[in-house]
């Protein structure tokens, strides 16, 4: 009788745990965000002028395994036509041929290939992403610091559907000259260094 009860208990436990085991593994997070919360802030601090702007045309997918964050891979895409500064003349110049040439280069892409220096504390993982950044058709290898926050079961609070959220924050700097953004011109007004602040969240509905 006791043996039978133990066996039943073991089966019950196995059945209870099975869905969790079956769900284990990388989760695919979609970063398309119609609410336009996902954004990139860009800052250029030149001697004569400081320029700041935003871009909200973020999309892409990231594959993240909470148990193995070092295996995170994915791609974040930014639509260049969403680059915005409050001054309309400056925005026209920025979108024009001389600078970002958005009609010819409609996207900026970052492909994450490998995470190094991974440290996880609770729901937050910090690491350095090795990847490839493509701006104006020029692709360069970059290493950027990243902070990933895995919010299990929090998607229902945001999108009213069950699922998880992955929040990705990264601050890094690129050079205009590396990507052919009007290199060497007007550096007294438009800084050679562009500070980028990536603030995005991906959703994985269940």
């Amino acid at each position: 009788m006791k043996r039978l009860n133990k066996s039943k208990l073991a089966w019950a436990l196995a059945l209870a745990v099975a869905p969790g085991i079956l769900n284990a593994g990388p989760i695919k997070f979609d970063f398309k965000d119609p609410k336009k919360v996902n954004n990139v802030v860009f800052l250029l601090d030149a001697p004569l002028e400081s320029i700041s702007g935003t871009a909200t045309g973020v999309s892409g997918t990231v594959s993240f395994d909470p148990a193995k964050p070092m295996e995170t891979t994915g791609k974040i895409v930014l639509t260049t036509s969403s680059l915005h500064v409050d001054n309309p003349a400056m925005k026209d110049h920025m979108h024009g041929e001389g600078w970002m040439h958005v009609s010819k280069f409609p996207t900026i892409e970052f492909v994450a290939e490998k995470l190094t220096g991974v440290r996880t504390s609770g729901t937050t993982t910090t690491a350095t992403i090795a990847g490839k950044l493509t701006v104006k058709g020029v692709t360069k290898k970059v290493n950027v610091p990243v902070r990933l926050t895995y919010l299990k079961g929090q998607l229902i609070k945001r999108n009213r559907v069950p699922g998880d959220l992955l929040v990705l924050r990264s601050d890094f700097t690129i050079k205009r000259s590396d990507y052919g953004i009007n290199a060497g011109n007007k550096e007294e007004k438009v800084s050679e260094k562009i500070e980028l602040k990536l603030r995005v969240a991906g959703a994985a509905p269940r």
């Binding site: 336009k36 935003t54 001054n87 309309p88 919010l151 609070k157 929040v167 603030r199 969240a201």
Partner: protein, 87 residues
């Protein structure tokens, strides 16, 4: 008048020290993720370049008004000067 209008518009716009802008971006925080995100709304804010332009134009017009002032105004006539001197 032009200079005063420019100054008033600049003051109403919040003494904005940058270029004129047709939108204003403020930052909000997403409650669930804690992410800061920009919210852009259409709002014209006068910048220092247009404030400067209005002041230059008004100063120029003031200068022109002095250069082309009418020399035969009643208070400048010889009789008027004599009477004021006598007083």
């Amino acid at each position: 008048m032009i200079g005063c209008s420019g100054l008033v518009l600049w003051l109403v716009g919040g003494l904005h020290m940058g270029w004129s802008k047709s939108t204003e971006t403020r930052t909000e925080i997403d409650e669930v993720t804690g992410l800061e995100y920009p919210v852009t709304e259409n709002k014209y804010v006068l910048g220092v370049e247009l404030l400067g332009a209005t002041l230059v134009v008004s100063g120029g017009l003031f200068g022109l008004s002095l250069a082309f002032r009418n020399p035969t105004r009643p208070d400048k006539q010889p009789g008027a000067e004599t009477s004021s001197t006598q007083l």
